[in-house]
């Protein structure tokens, strides 16, 4: 059900953009106004969310340790799993953000009816698909920079030639185009195939996947199929957008506007959704703090005095019993 409603919303979005640019001739709205609005919402929303998160203080240092602490000098510690210094924390975060360290640990539980016993198998597919998707997305995003810069910077050309390493077809086939679609398809299939995943998945989880898939598919259709669009016109539009002198070239093709509109939706949707994990991963206190609790005191900014049972009150209550037991007393009476 959740997946179907997500699919319906996506279908509506596609129809809106088709009708808008195909029949209603609202190219300026879809080619200029929506992208500008989307970028604006994205930037303002993203920054707003980060600031709001940052406004909540971190009262306690609650590092999750996934390895040996630094204690006695002859015991080997695991700096990236239980970091004891800022530098080690940076190492841990880089492992997490660039290579998805924690996801790499993933296991799968299996209940055997003999015994009964539970066994834990390795389970690296989620890690692999997640990593493949995120890296492909980044590379594709960087590749798109060619539309927004003249001349095309060297790093973009470099990425492009690496991405089309296999030199298949014309236009050259980008490996990341295939990887991102395969990875997203896998991430979708595991949500519906595994009953546990189906149970925890919300409409918004499916929506994010469908939106990304649709963006990928429209991109691929534009590049590799007869639905090909006029790249020169697209570059003209893109350059107009970045130079803040928007122009709307004629006849770019409906498929491009669907692609652009979905990208706009993605950007505008981003700050309001779970996609904010992109910013949040940097701010998770269990990962971005050092396990040096007993070395450096962490201060809680909203700490307040609490009611305690002081030694004096305690001794007052038990003095006679303590005296009878011959225990030392602060006051005789």
């Amino acid at each position: 059900m959740a997946a179907i409603s997500a699919l319906l919303i996506l279908a509506v979005l596609i129809v809106v953009s088709m009708v808008g640019t195909g029949m209603a001739d609202l190219d300026f709205l879809f080619g200029v106004v929506f992208p500008y609005a989307a970028i604006l919402i994205f930037l303002v929303g993203f920054i707003y969310r980060i600031i709001r998160w940052a406004q909540s203080p971190v009262p306690f240092k609650i590092t999750t340790t996934c390895g040996q602490q630094k204690s006695l000098d002859w015991i080997k510690d695991s700096p990236f799993e239980a970091p004891h210094s800022k530098l080690a924390v940076i190492g841990r975060m880089l492992m997490e953000i660039l290579f998805f360290r924690s996801l790499f640990r993933n296991t799968k539980v299996d209940l055997k009816k003999d015994g009964p016993r539970v066994v834990y198998g390795g389970s690296k597919w989620l890690w692999l698909a997640g990593l493949a998707f995120h890296w492909s997305f980044l590379i594709i995003l960087l590749r798109h920079y060619r539309f927004f810069a003249d001349p095309v910077p060297f790093f973009v050309s470099g990425i492009e030639s690496l991405d089309s390493f296999f030199q298949i077809g014309l236009p050259l086939f980008y490996i990341t185009d295939a990887i991102i679609l395969i990875a997203l398809t896998y991430l979708f299939l595991r949500r519906v195939a595994d009953p546990k995943m189906r149970f925890i998945s919300l409409g918004s989880d499916y929506f994010a996947l469908f939106l990304l898939l649709a963006i990928g598919v429209t991109g691929v259709l534009m590049r590799y199929t007869p639905m090909r669009v006029d790249i020169i016109s697209i570059k003209e539009l893109a350059m107009g957008l970045v130079s803040l002198k928007p122009v709307v070239p004629a006849d770019i093709g409906s498929i491009f506007y669907i692609h652009l509109f979905l990208v706009s939706v993605l950007f505008a949707y981003f700050p309001f959704s779970k996609l904010m994990h992109m910013g949040g991963v940097f701010m998770s206190p269990t990962r971005n703090m050092a396990n040096d609790n007993r070395v450096k005191r962490h201060v809680n900014p909203w700490d307040y005095p609490v009611k305690t049972h002081t030694y004096e009150e305690w001794e007052d209550e038990f003095r006679e019993l303590m005296r009878a037991a011959g225990m030392p007393l602060e006051k005789e009476k």
Binding site: S56, T64, M283
Partner: protein, 554 residues
Amino acid sequence: MAEKLVKPEELAGGIDYKPKQKDWFDPRVEFRRGTWNYAAPPDNLKYLDLPNPRKWSPTDEDWKLPDNWKEIILEGLRDRIKRFRSLQVFMDICVRCGACADKCHFFIGSGDPKNMPVLRAELLRSVYRKDYTLAGKLMGKMVGARELTVDVLKEWFYYFYQCTECRRCSVFCPYGIDTAEITMIARELLNLVGVSIEWICTPAANCFRTGNHLGIQPHGFADSIEFAVDELEELTGIKVDAPINKKGAEILFVAPSADYFASPHYYTLLGYLALFHEIGLDYTWSAYASEGGNFGLFHSHEMMKRLNAKIYAEAKRLGVKWILGGECGHMWRVIHQYMDTLNGPADFLEEPVSPITGTRFENARSTKMVHITEFTSDLIRHGKIKLDKSRNDHWHATFHDSCNPSRAMGLLEEPRYVIKNCMNKFTEMPENTIREQTFCCGSGSGLGTDENLEMRLRGGFPRANACKYVHDTKDVNILLCICAIDKATLPPLLEYWVPGVEVGGIHELIGNALIMKGEKRETDLRGTPLPNLAPAEENTEDKAETGEEGEGDV
């Protein structure tokens, strides 16, 4: 085990990881006997100045909530979102990737989908979304938003008291979302309207009043320490000194109260006493700070602070240099991650230095409290104690990493080093069940009650199962651990799932192996005849010097 229990095969046979319901939005839960905890008695709530003290039971239709309970909870949530970045971020960034789903021992042992950490958190998130986010207000179910109702509150009570705050899920989460943190805050919210459990509030009230969870008064405390001293004399022929509230001692020793009142904790206490005597440690117990454990952690950040305050206050009053802490799990989460922040700075203490080896415990420079396995492994490393491993030859051990020392401290090698130097036969459980991936005993965070037994057996199933593996394949007959809740709740758990495996503390085995000057020993600390009556003079020092690993390491 008062209730009649089904056979292990039956209990595990009924587990199905495929959810039966269509979705999770319906909050109604069935309070089936064996899966929930008794409500906190009004007297103890009053003693602790906590809101809405009254008699009630989770099975009642009417929980006698205050009229404005909903406002209280929602306001409490808003307040905590502003005070805890962890909560704010954890409410917003979960992508429901499902990596945590099958990592929770309660899910593995029950198959109840709301025991998947992701869903446990969604129970709170759904209300947060409805109340706090634009998307939640507009889109409702599509984005997982739910209205807060009495049924939701009851569901929270059920499932946030089916989380032992063990943090295993947070190890696997790509964003480090920690369900322990979410559970802690959810319980704080429930406490605001007087929804809390007896097994947390009663020990907390006891601890506040007497100094320890068991409510043992100072003379009773002195009695039990004295009793242990006598018992140790009977076992070893040596009368040790165990000072209480001694001013000017070098070190204050704080242990969980179960160590001096429960079994098999008690043998660990005998081990501490023997060890401190043998190295001539200038230390003292305290009857005021007679509890290292902290049930406040299971209640609220405020209660944790209230109960923890005694440790530094007593160290200051007695004028000790630093503090040594015994074998306990959640106690060490509080000491390592919270104490200095809550009740520090401990600037009246000195940076801990072992008086025996001269080792400076730089990792405890600020908090000034050292874990007993850090202290003992340092003694062994420097060859300061003589250990006869063969005295533990009747044991083949495995080690259960307690949740908090492993996932909130990184204390993994110290206990292993001690174990391998005081016994010959040691085998690790399978790798996905130890160290940072260790499984909870199933009874942590105040859930170790009799009325909750079925859920404890389910939650402890993964731990017991890993133990069964080494019992069946290697004849392991003792599960060692460094946690008082473990020592209390693992014995019935193992008796149910894997009979024939005992539970013990590390310092019990140290106490067995320790060669004491002038000792006359025929039995181990449990009174069982020693396997090798002739003490081997060739002790373990050589091995200790090279830090060689024990056998059977898998």
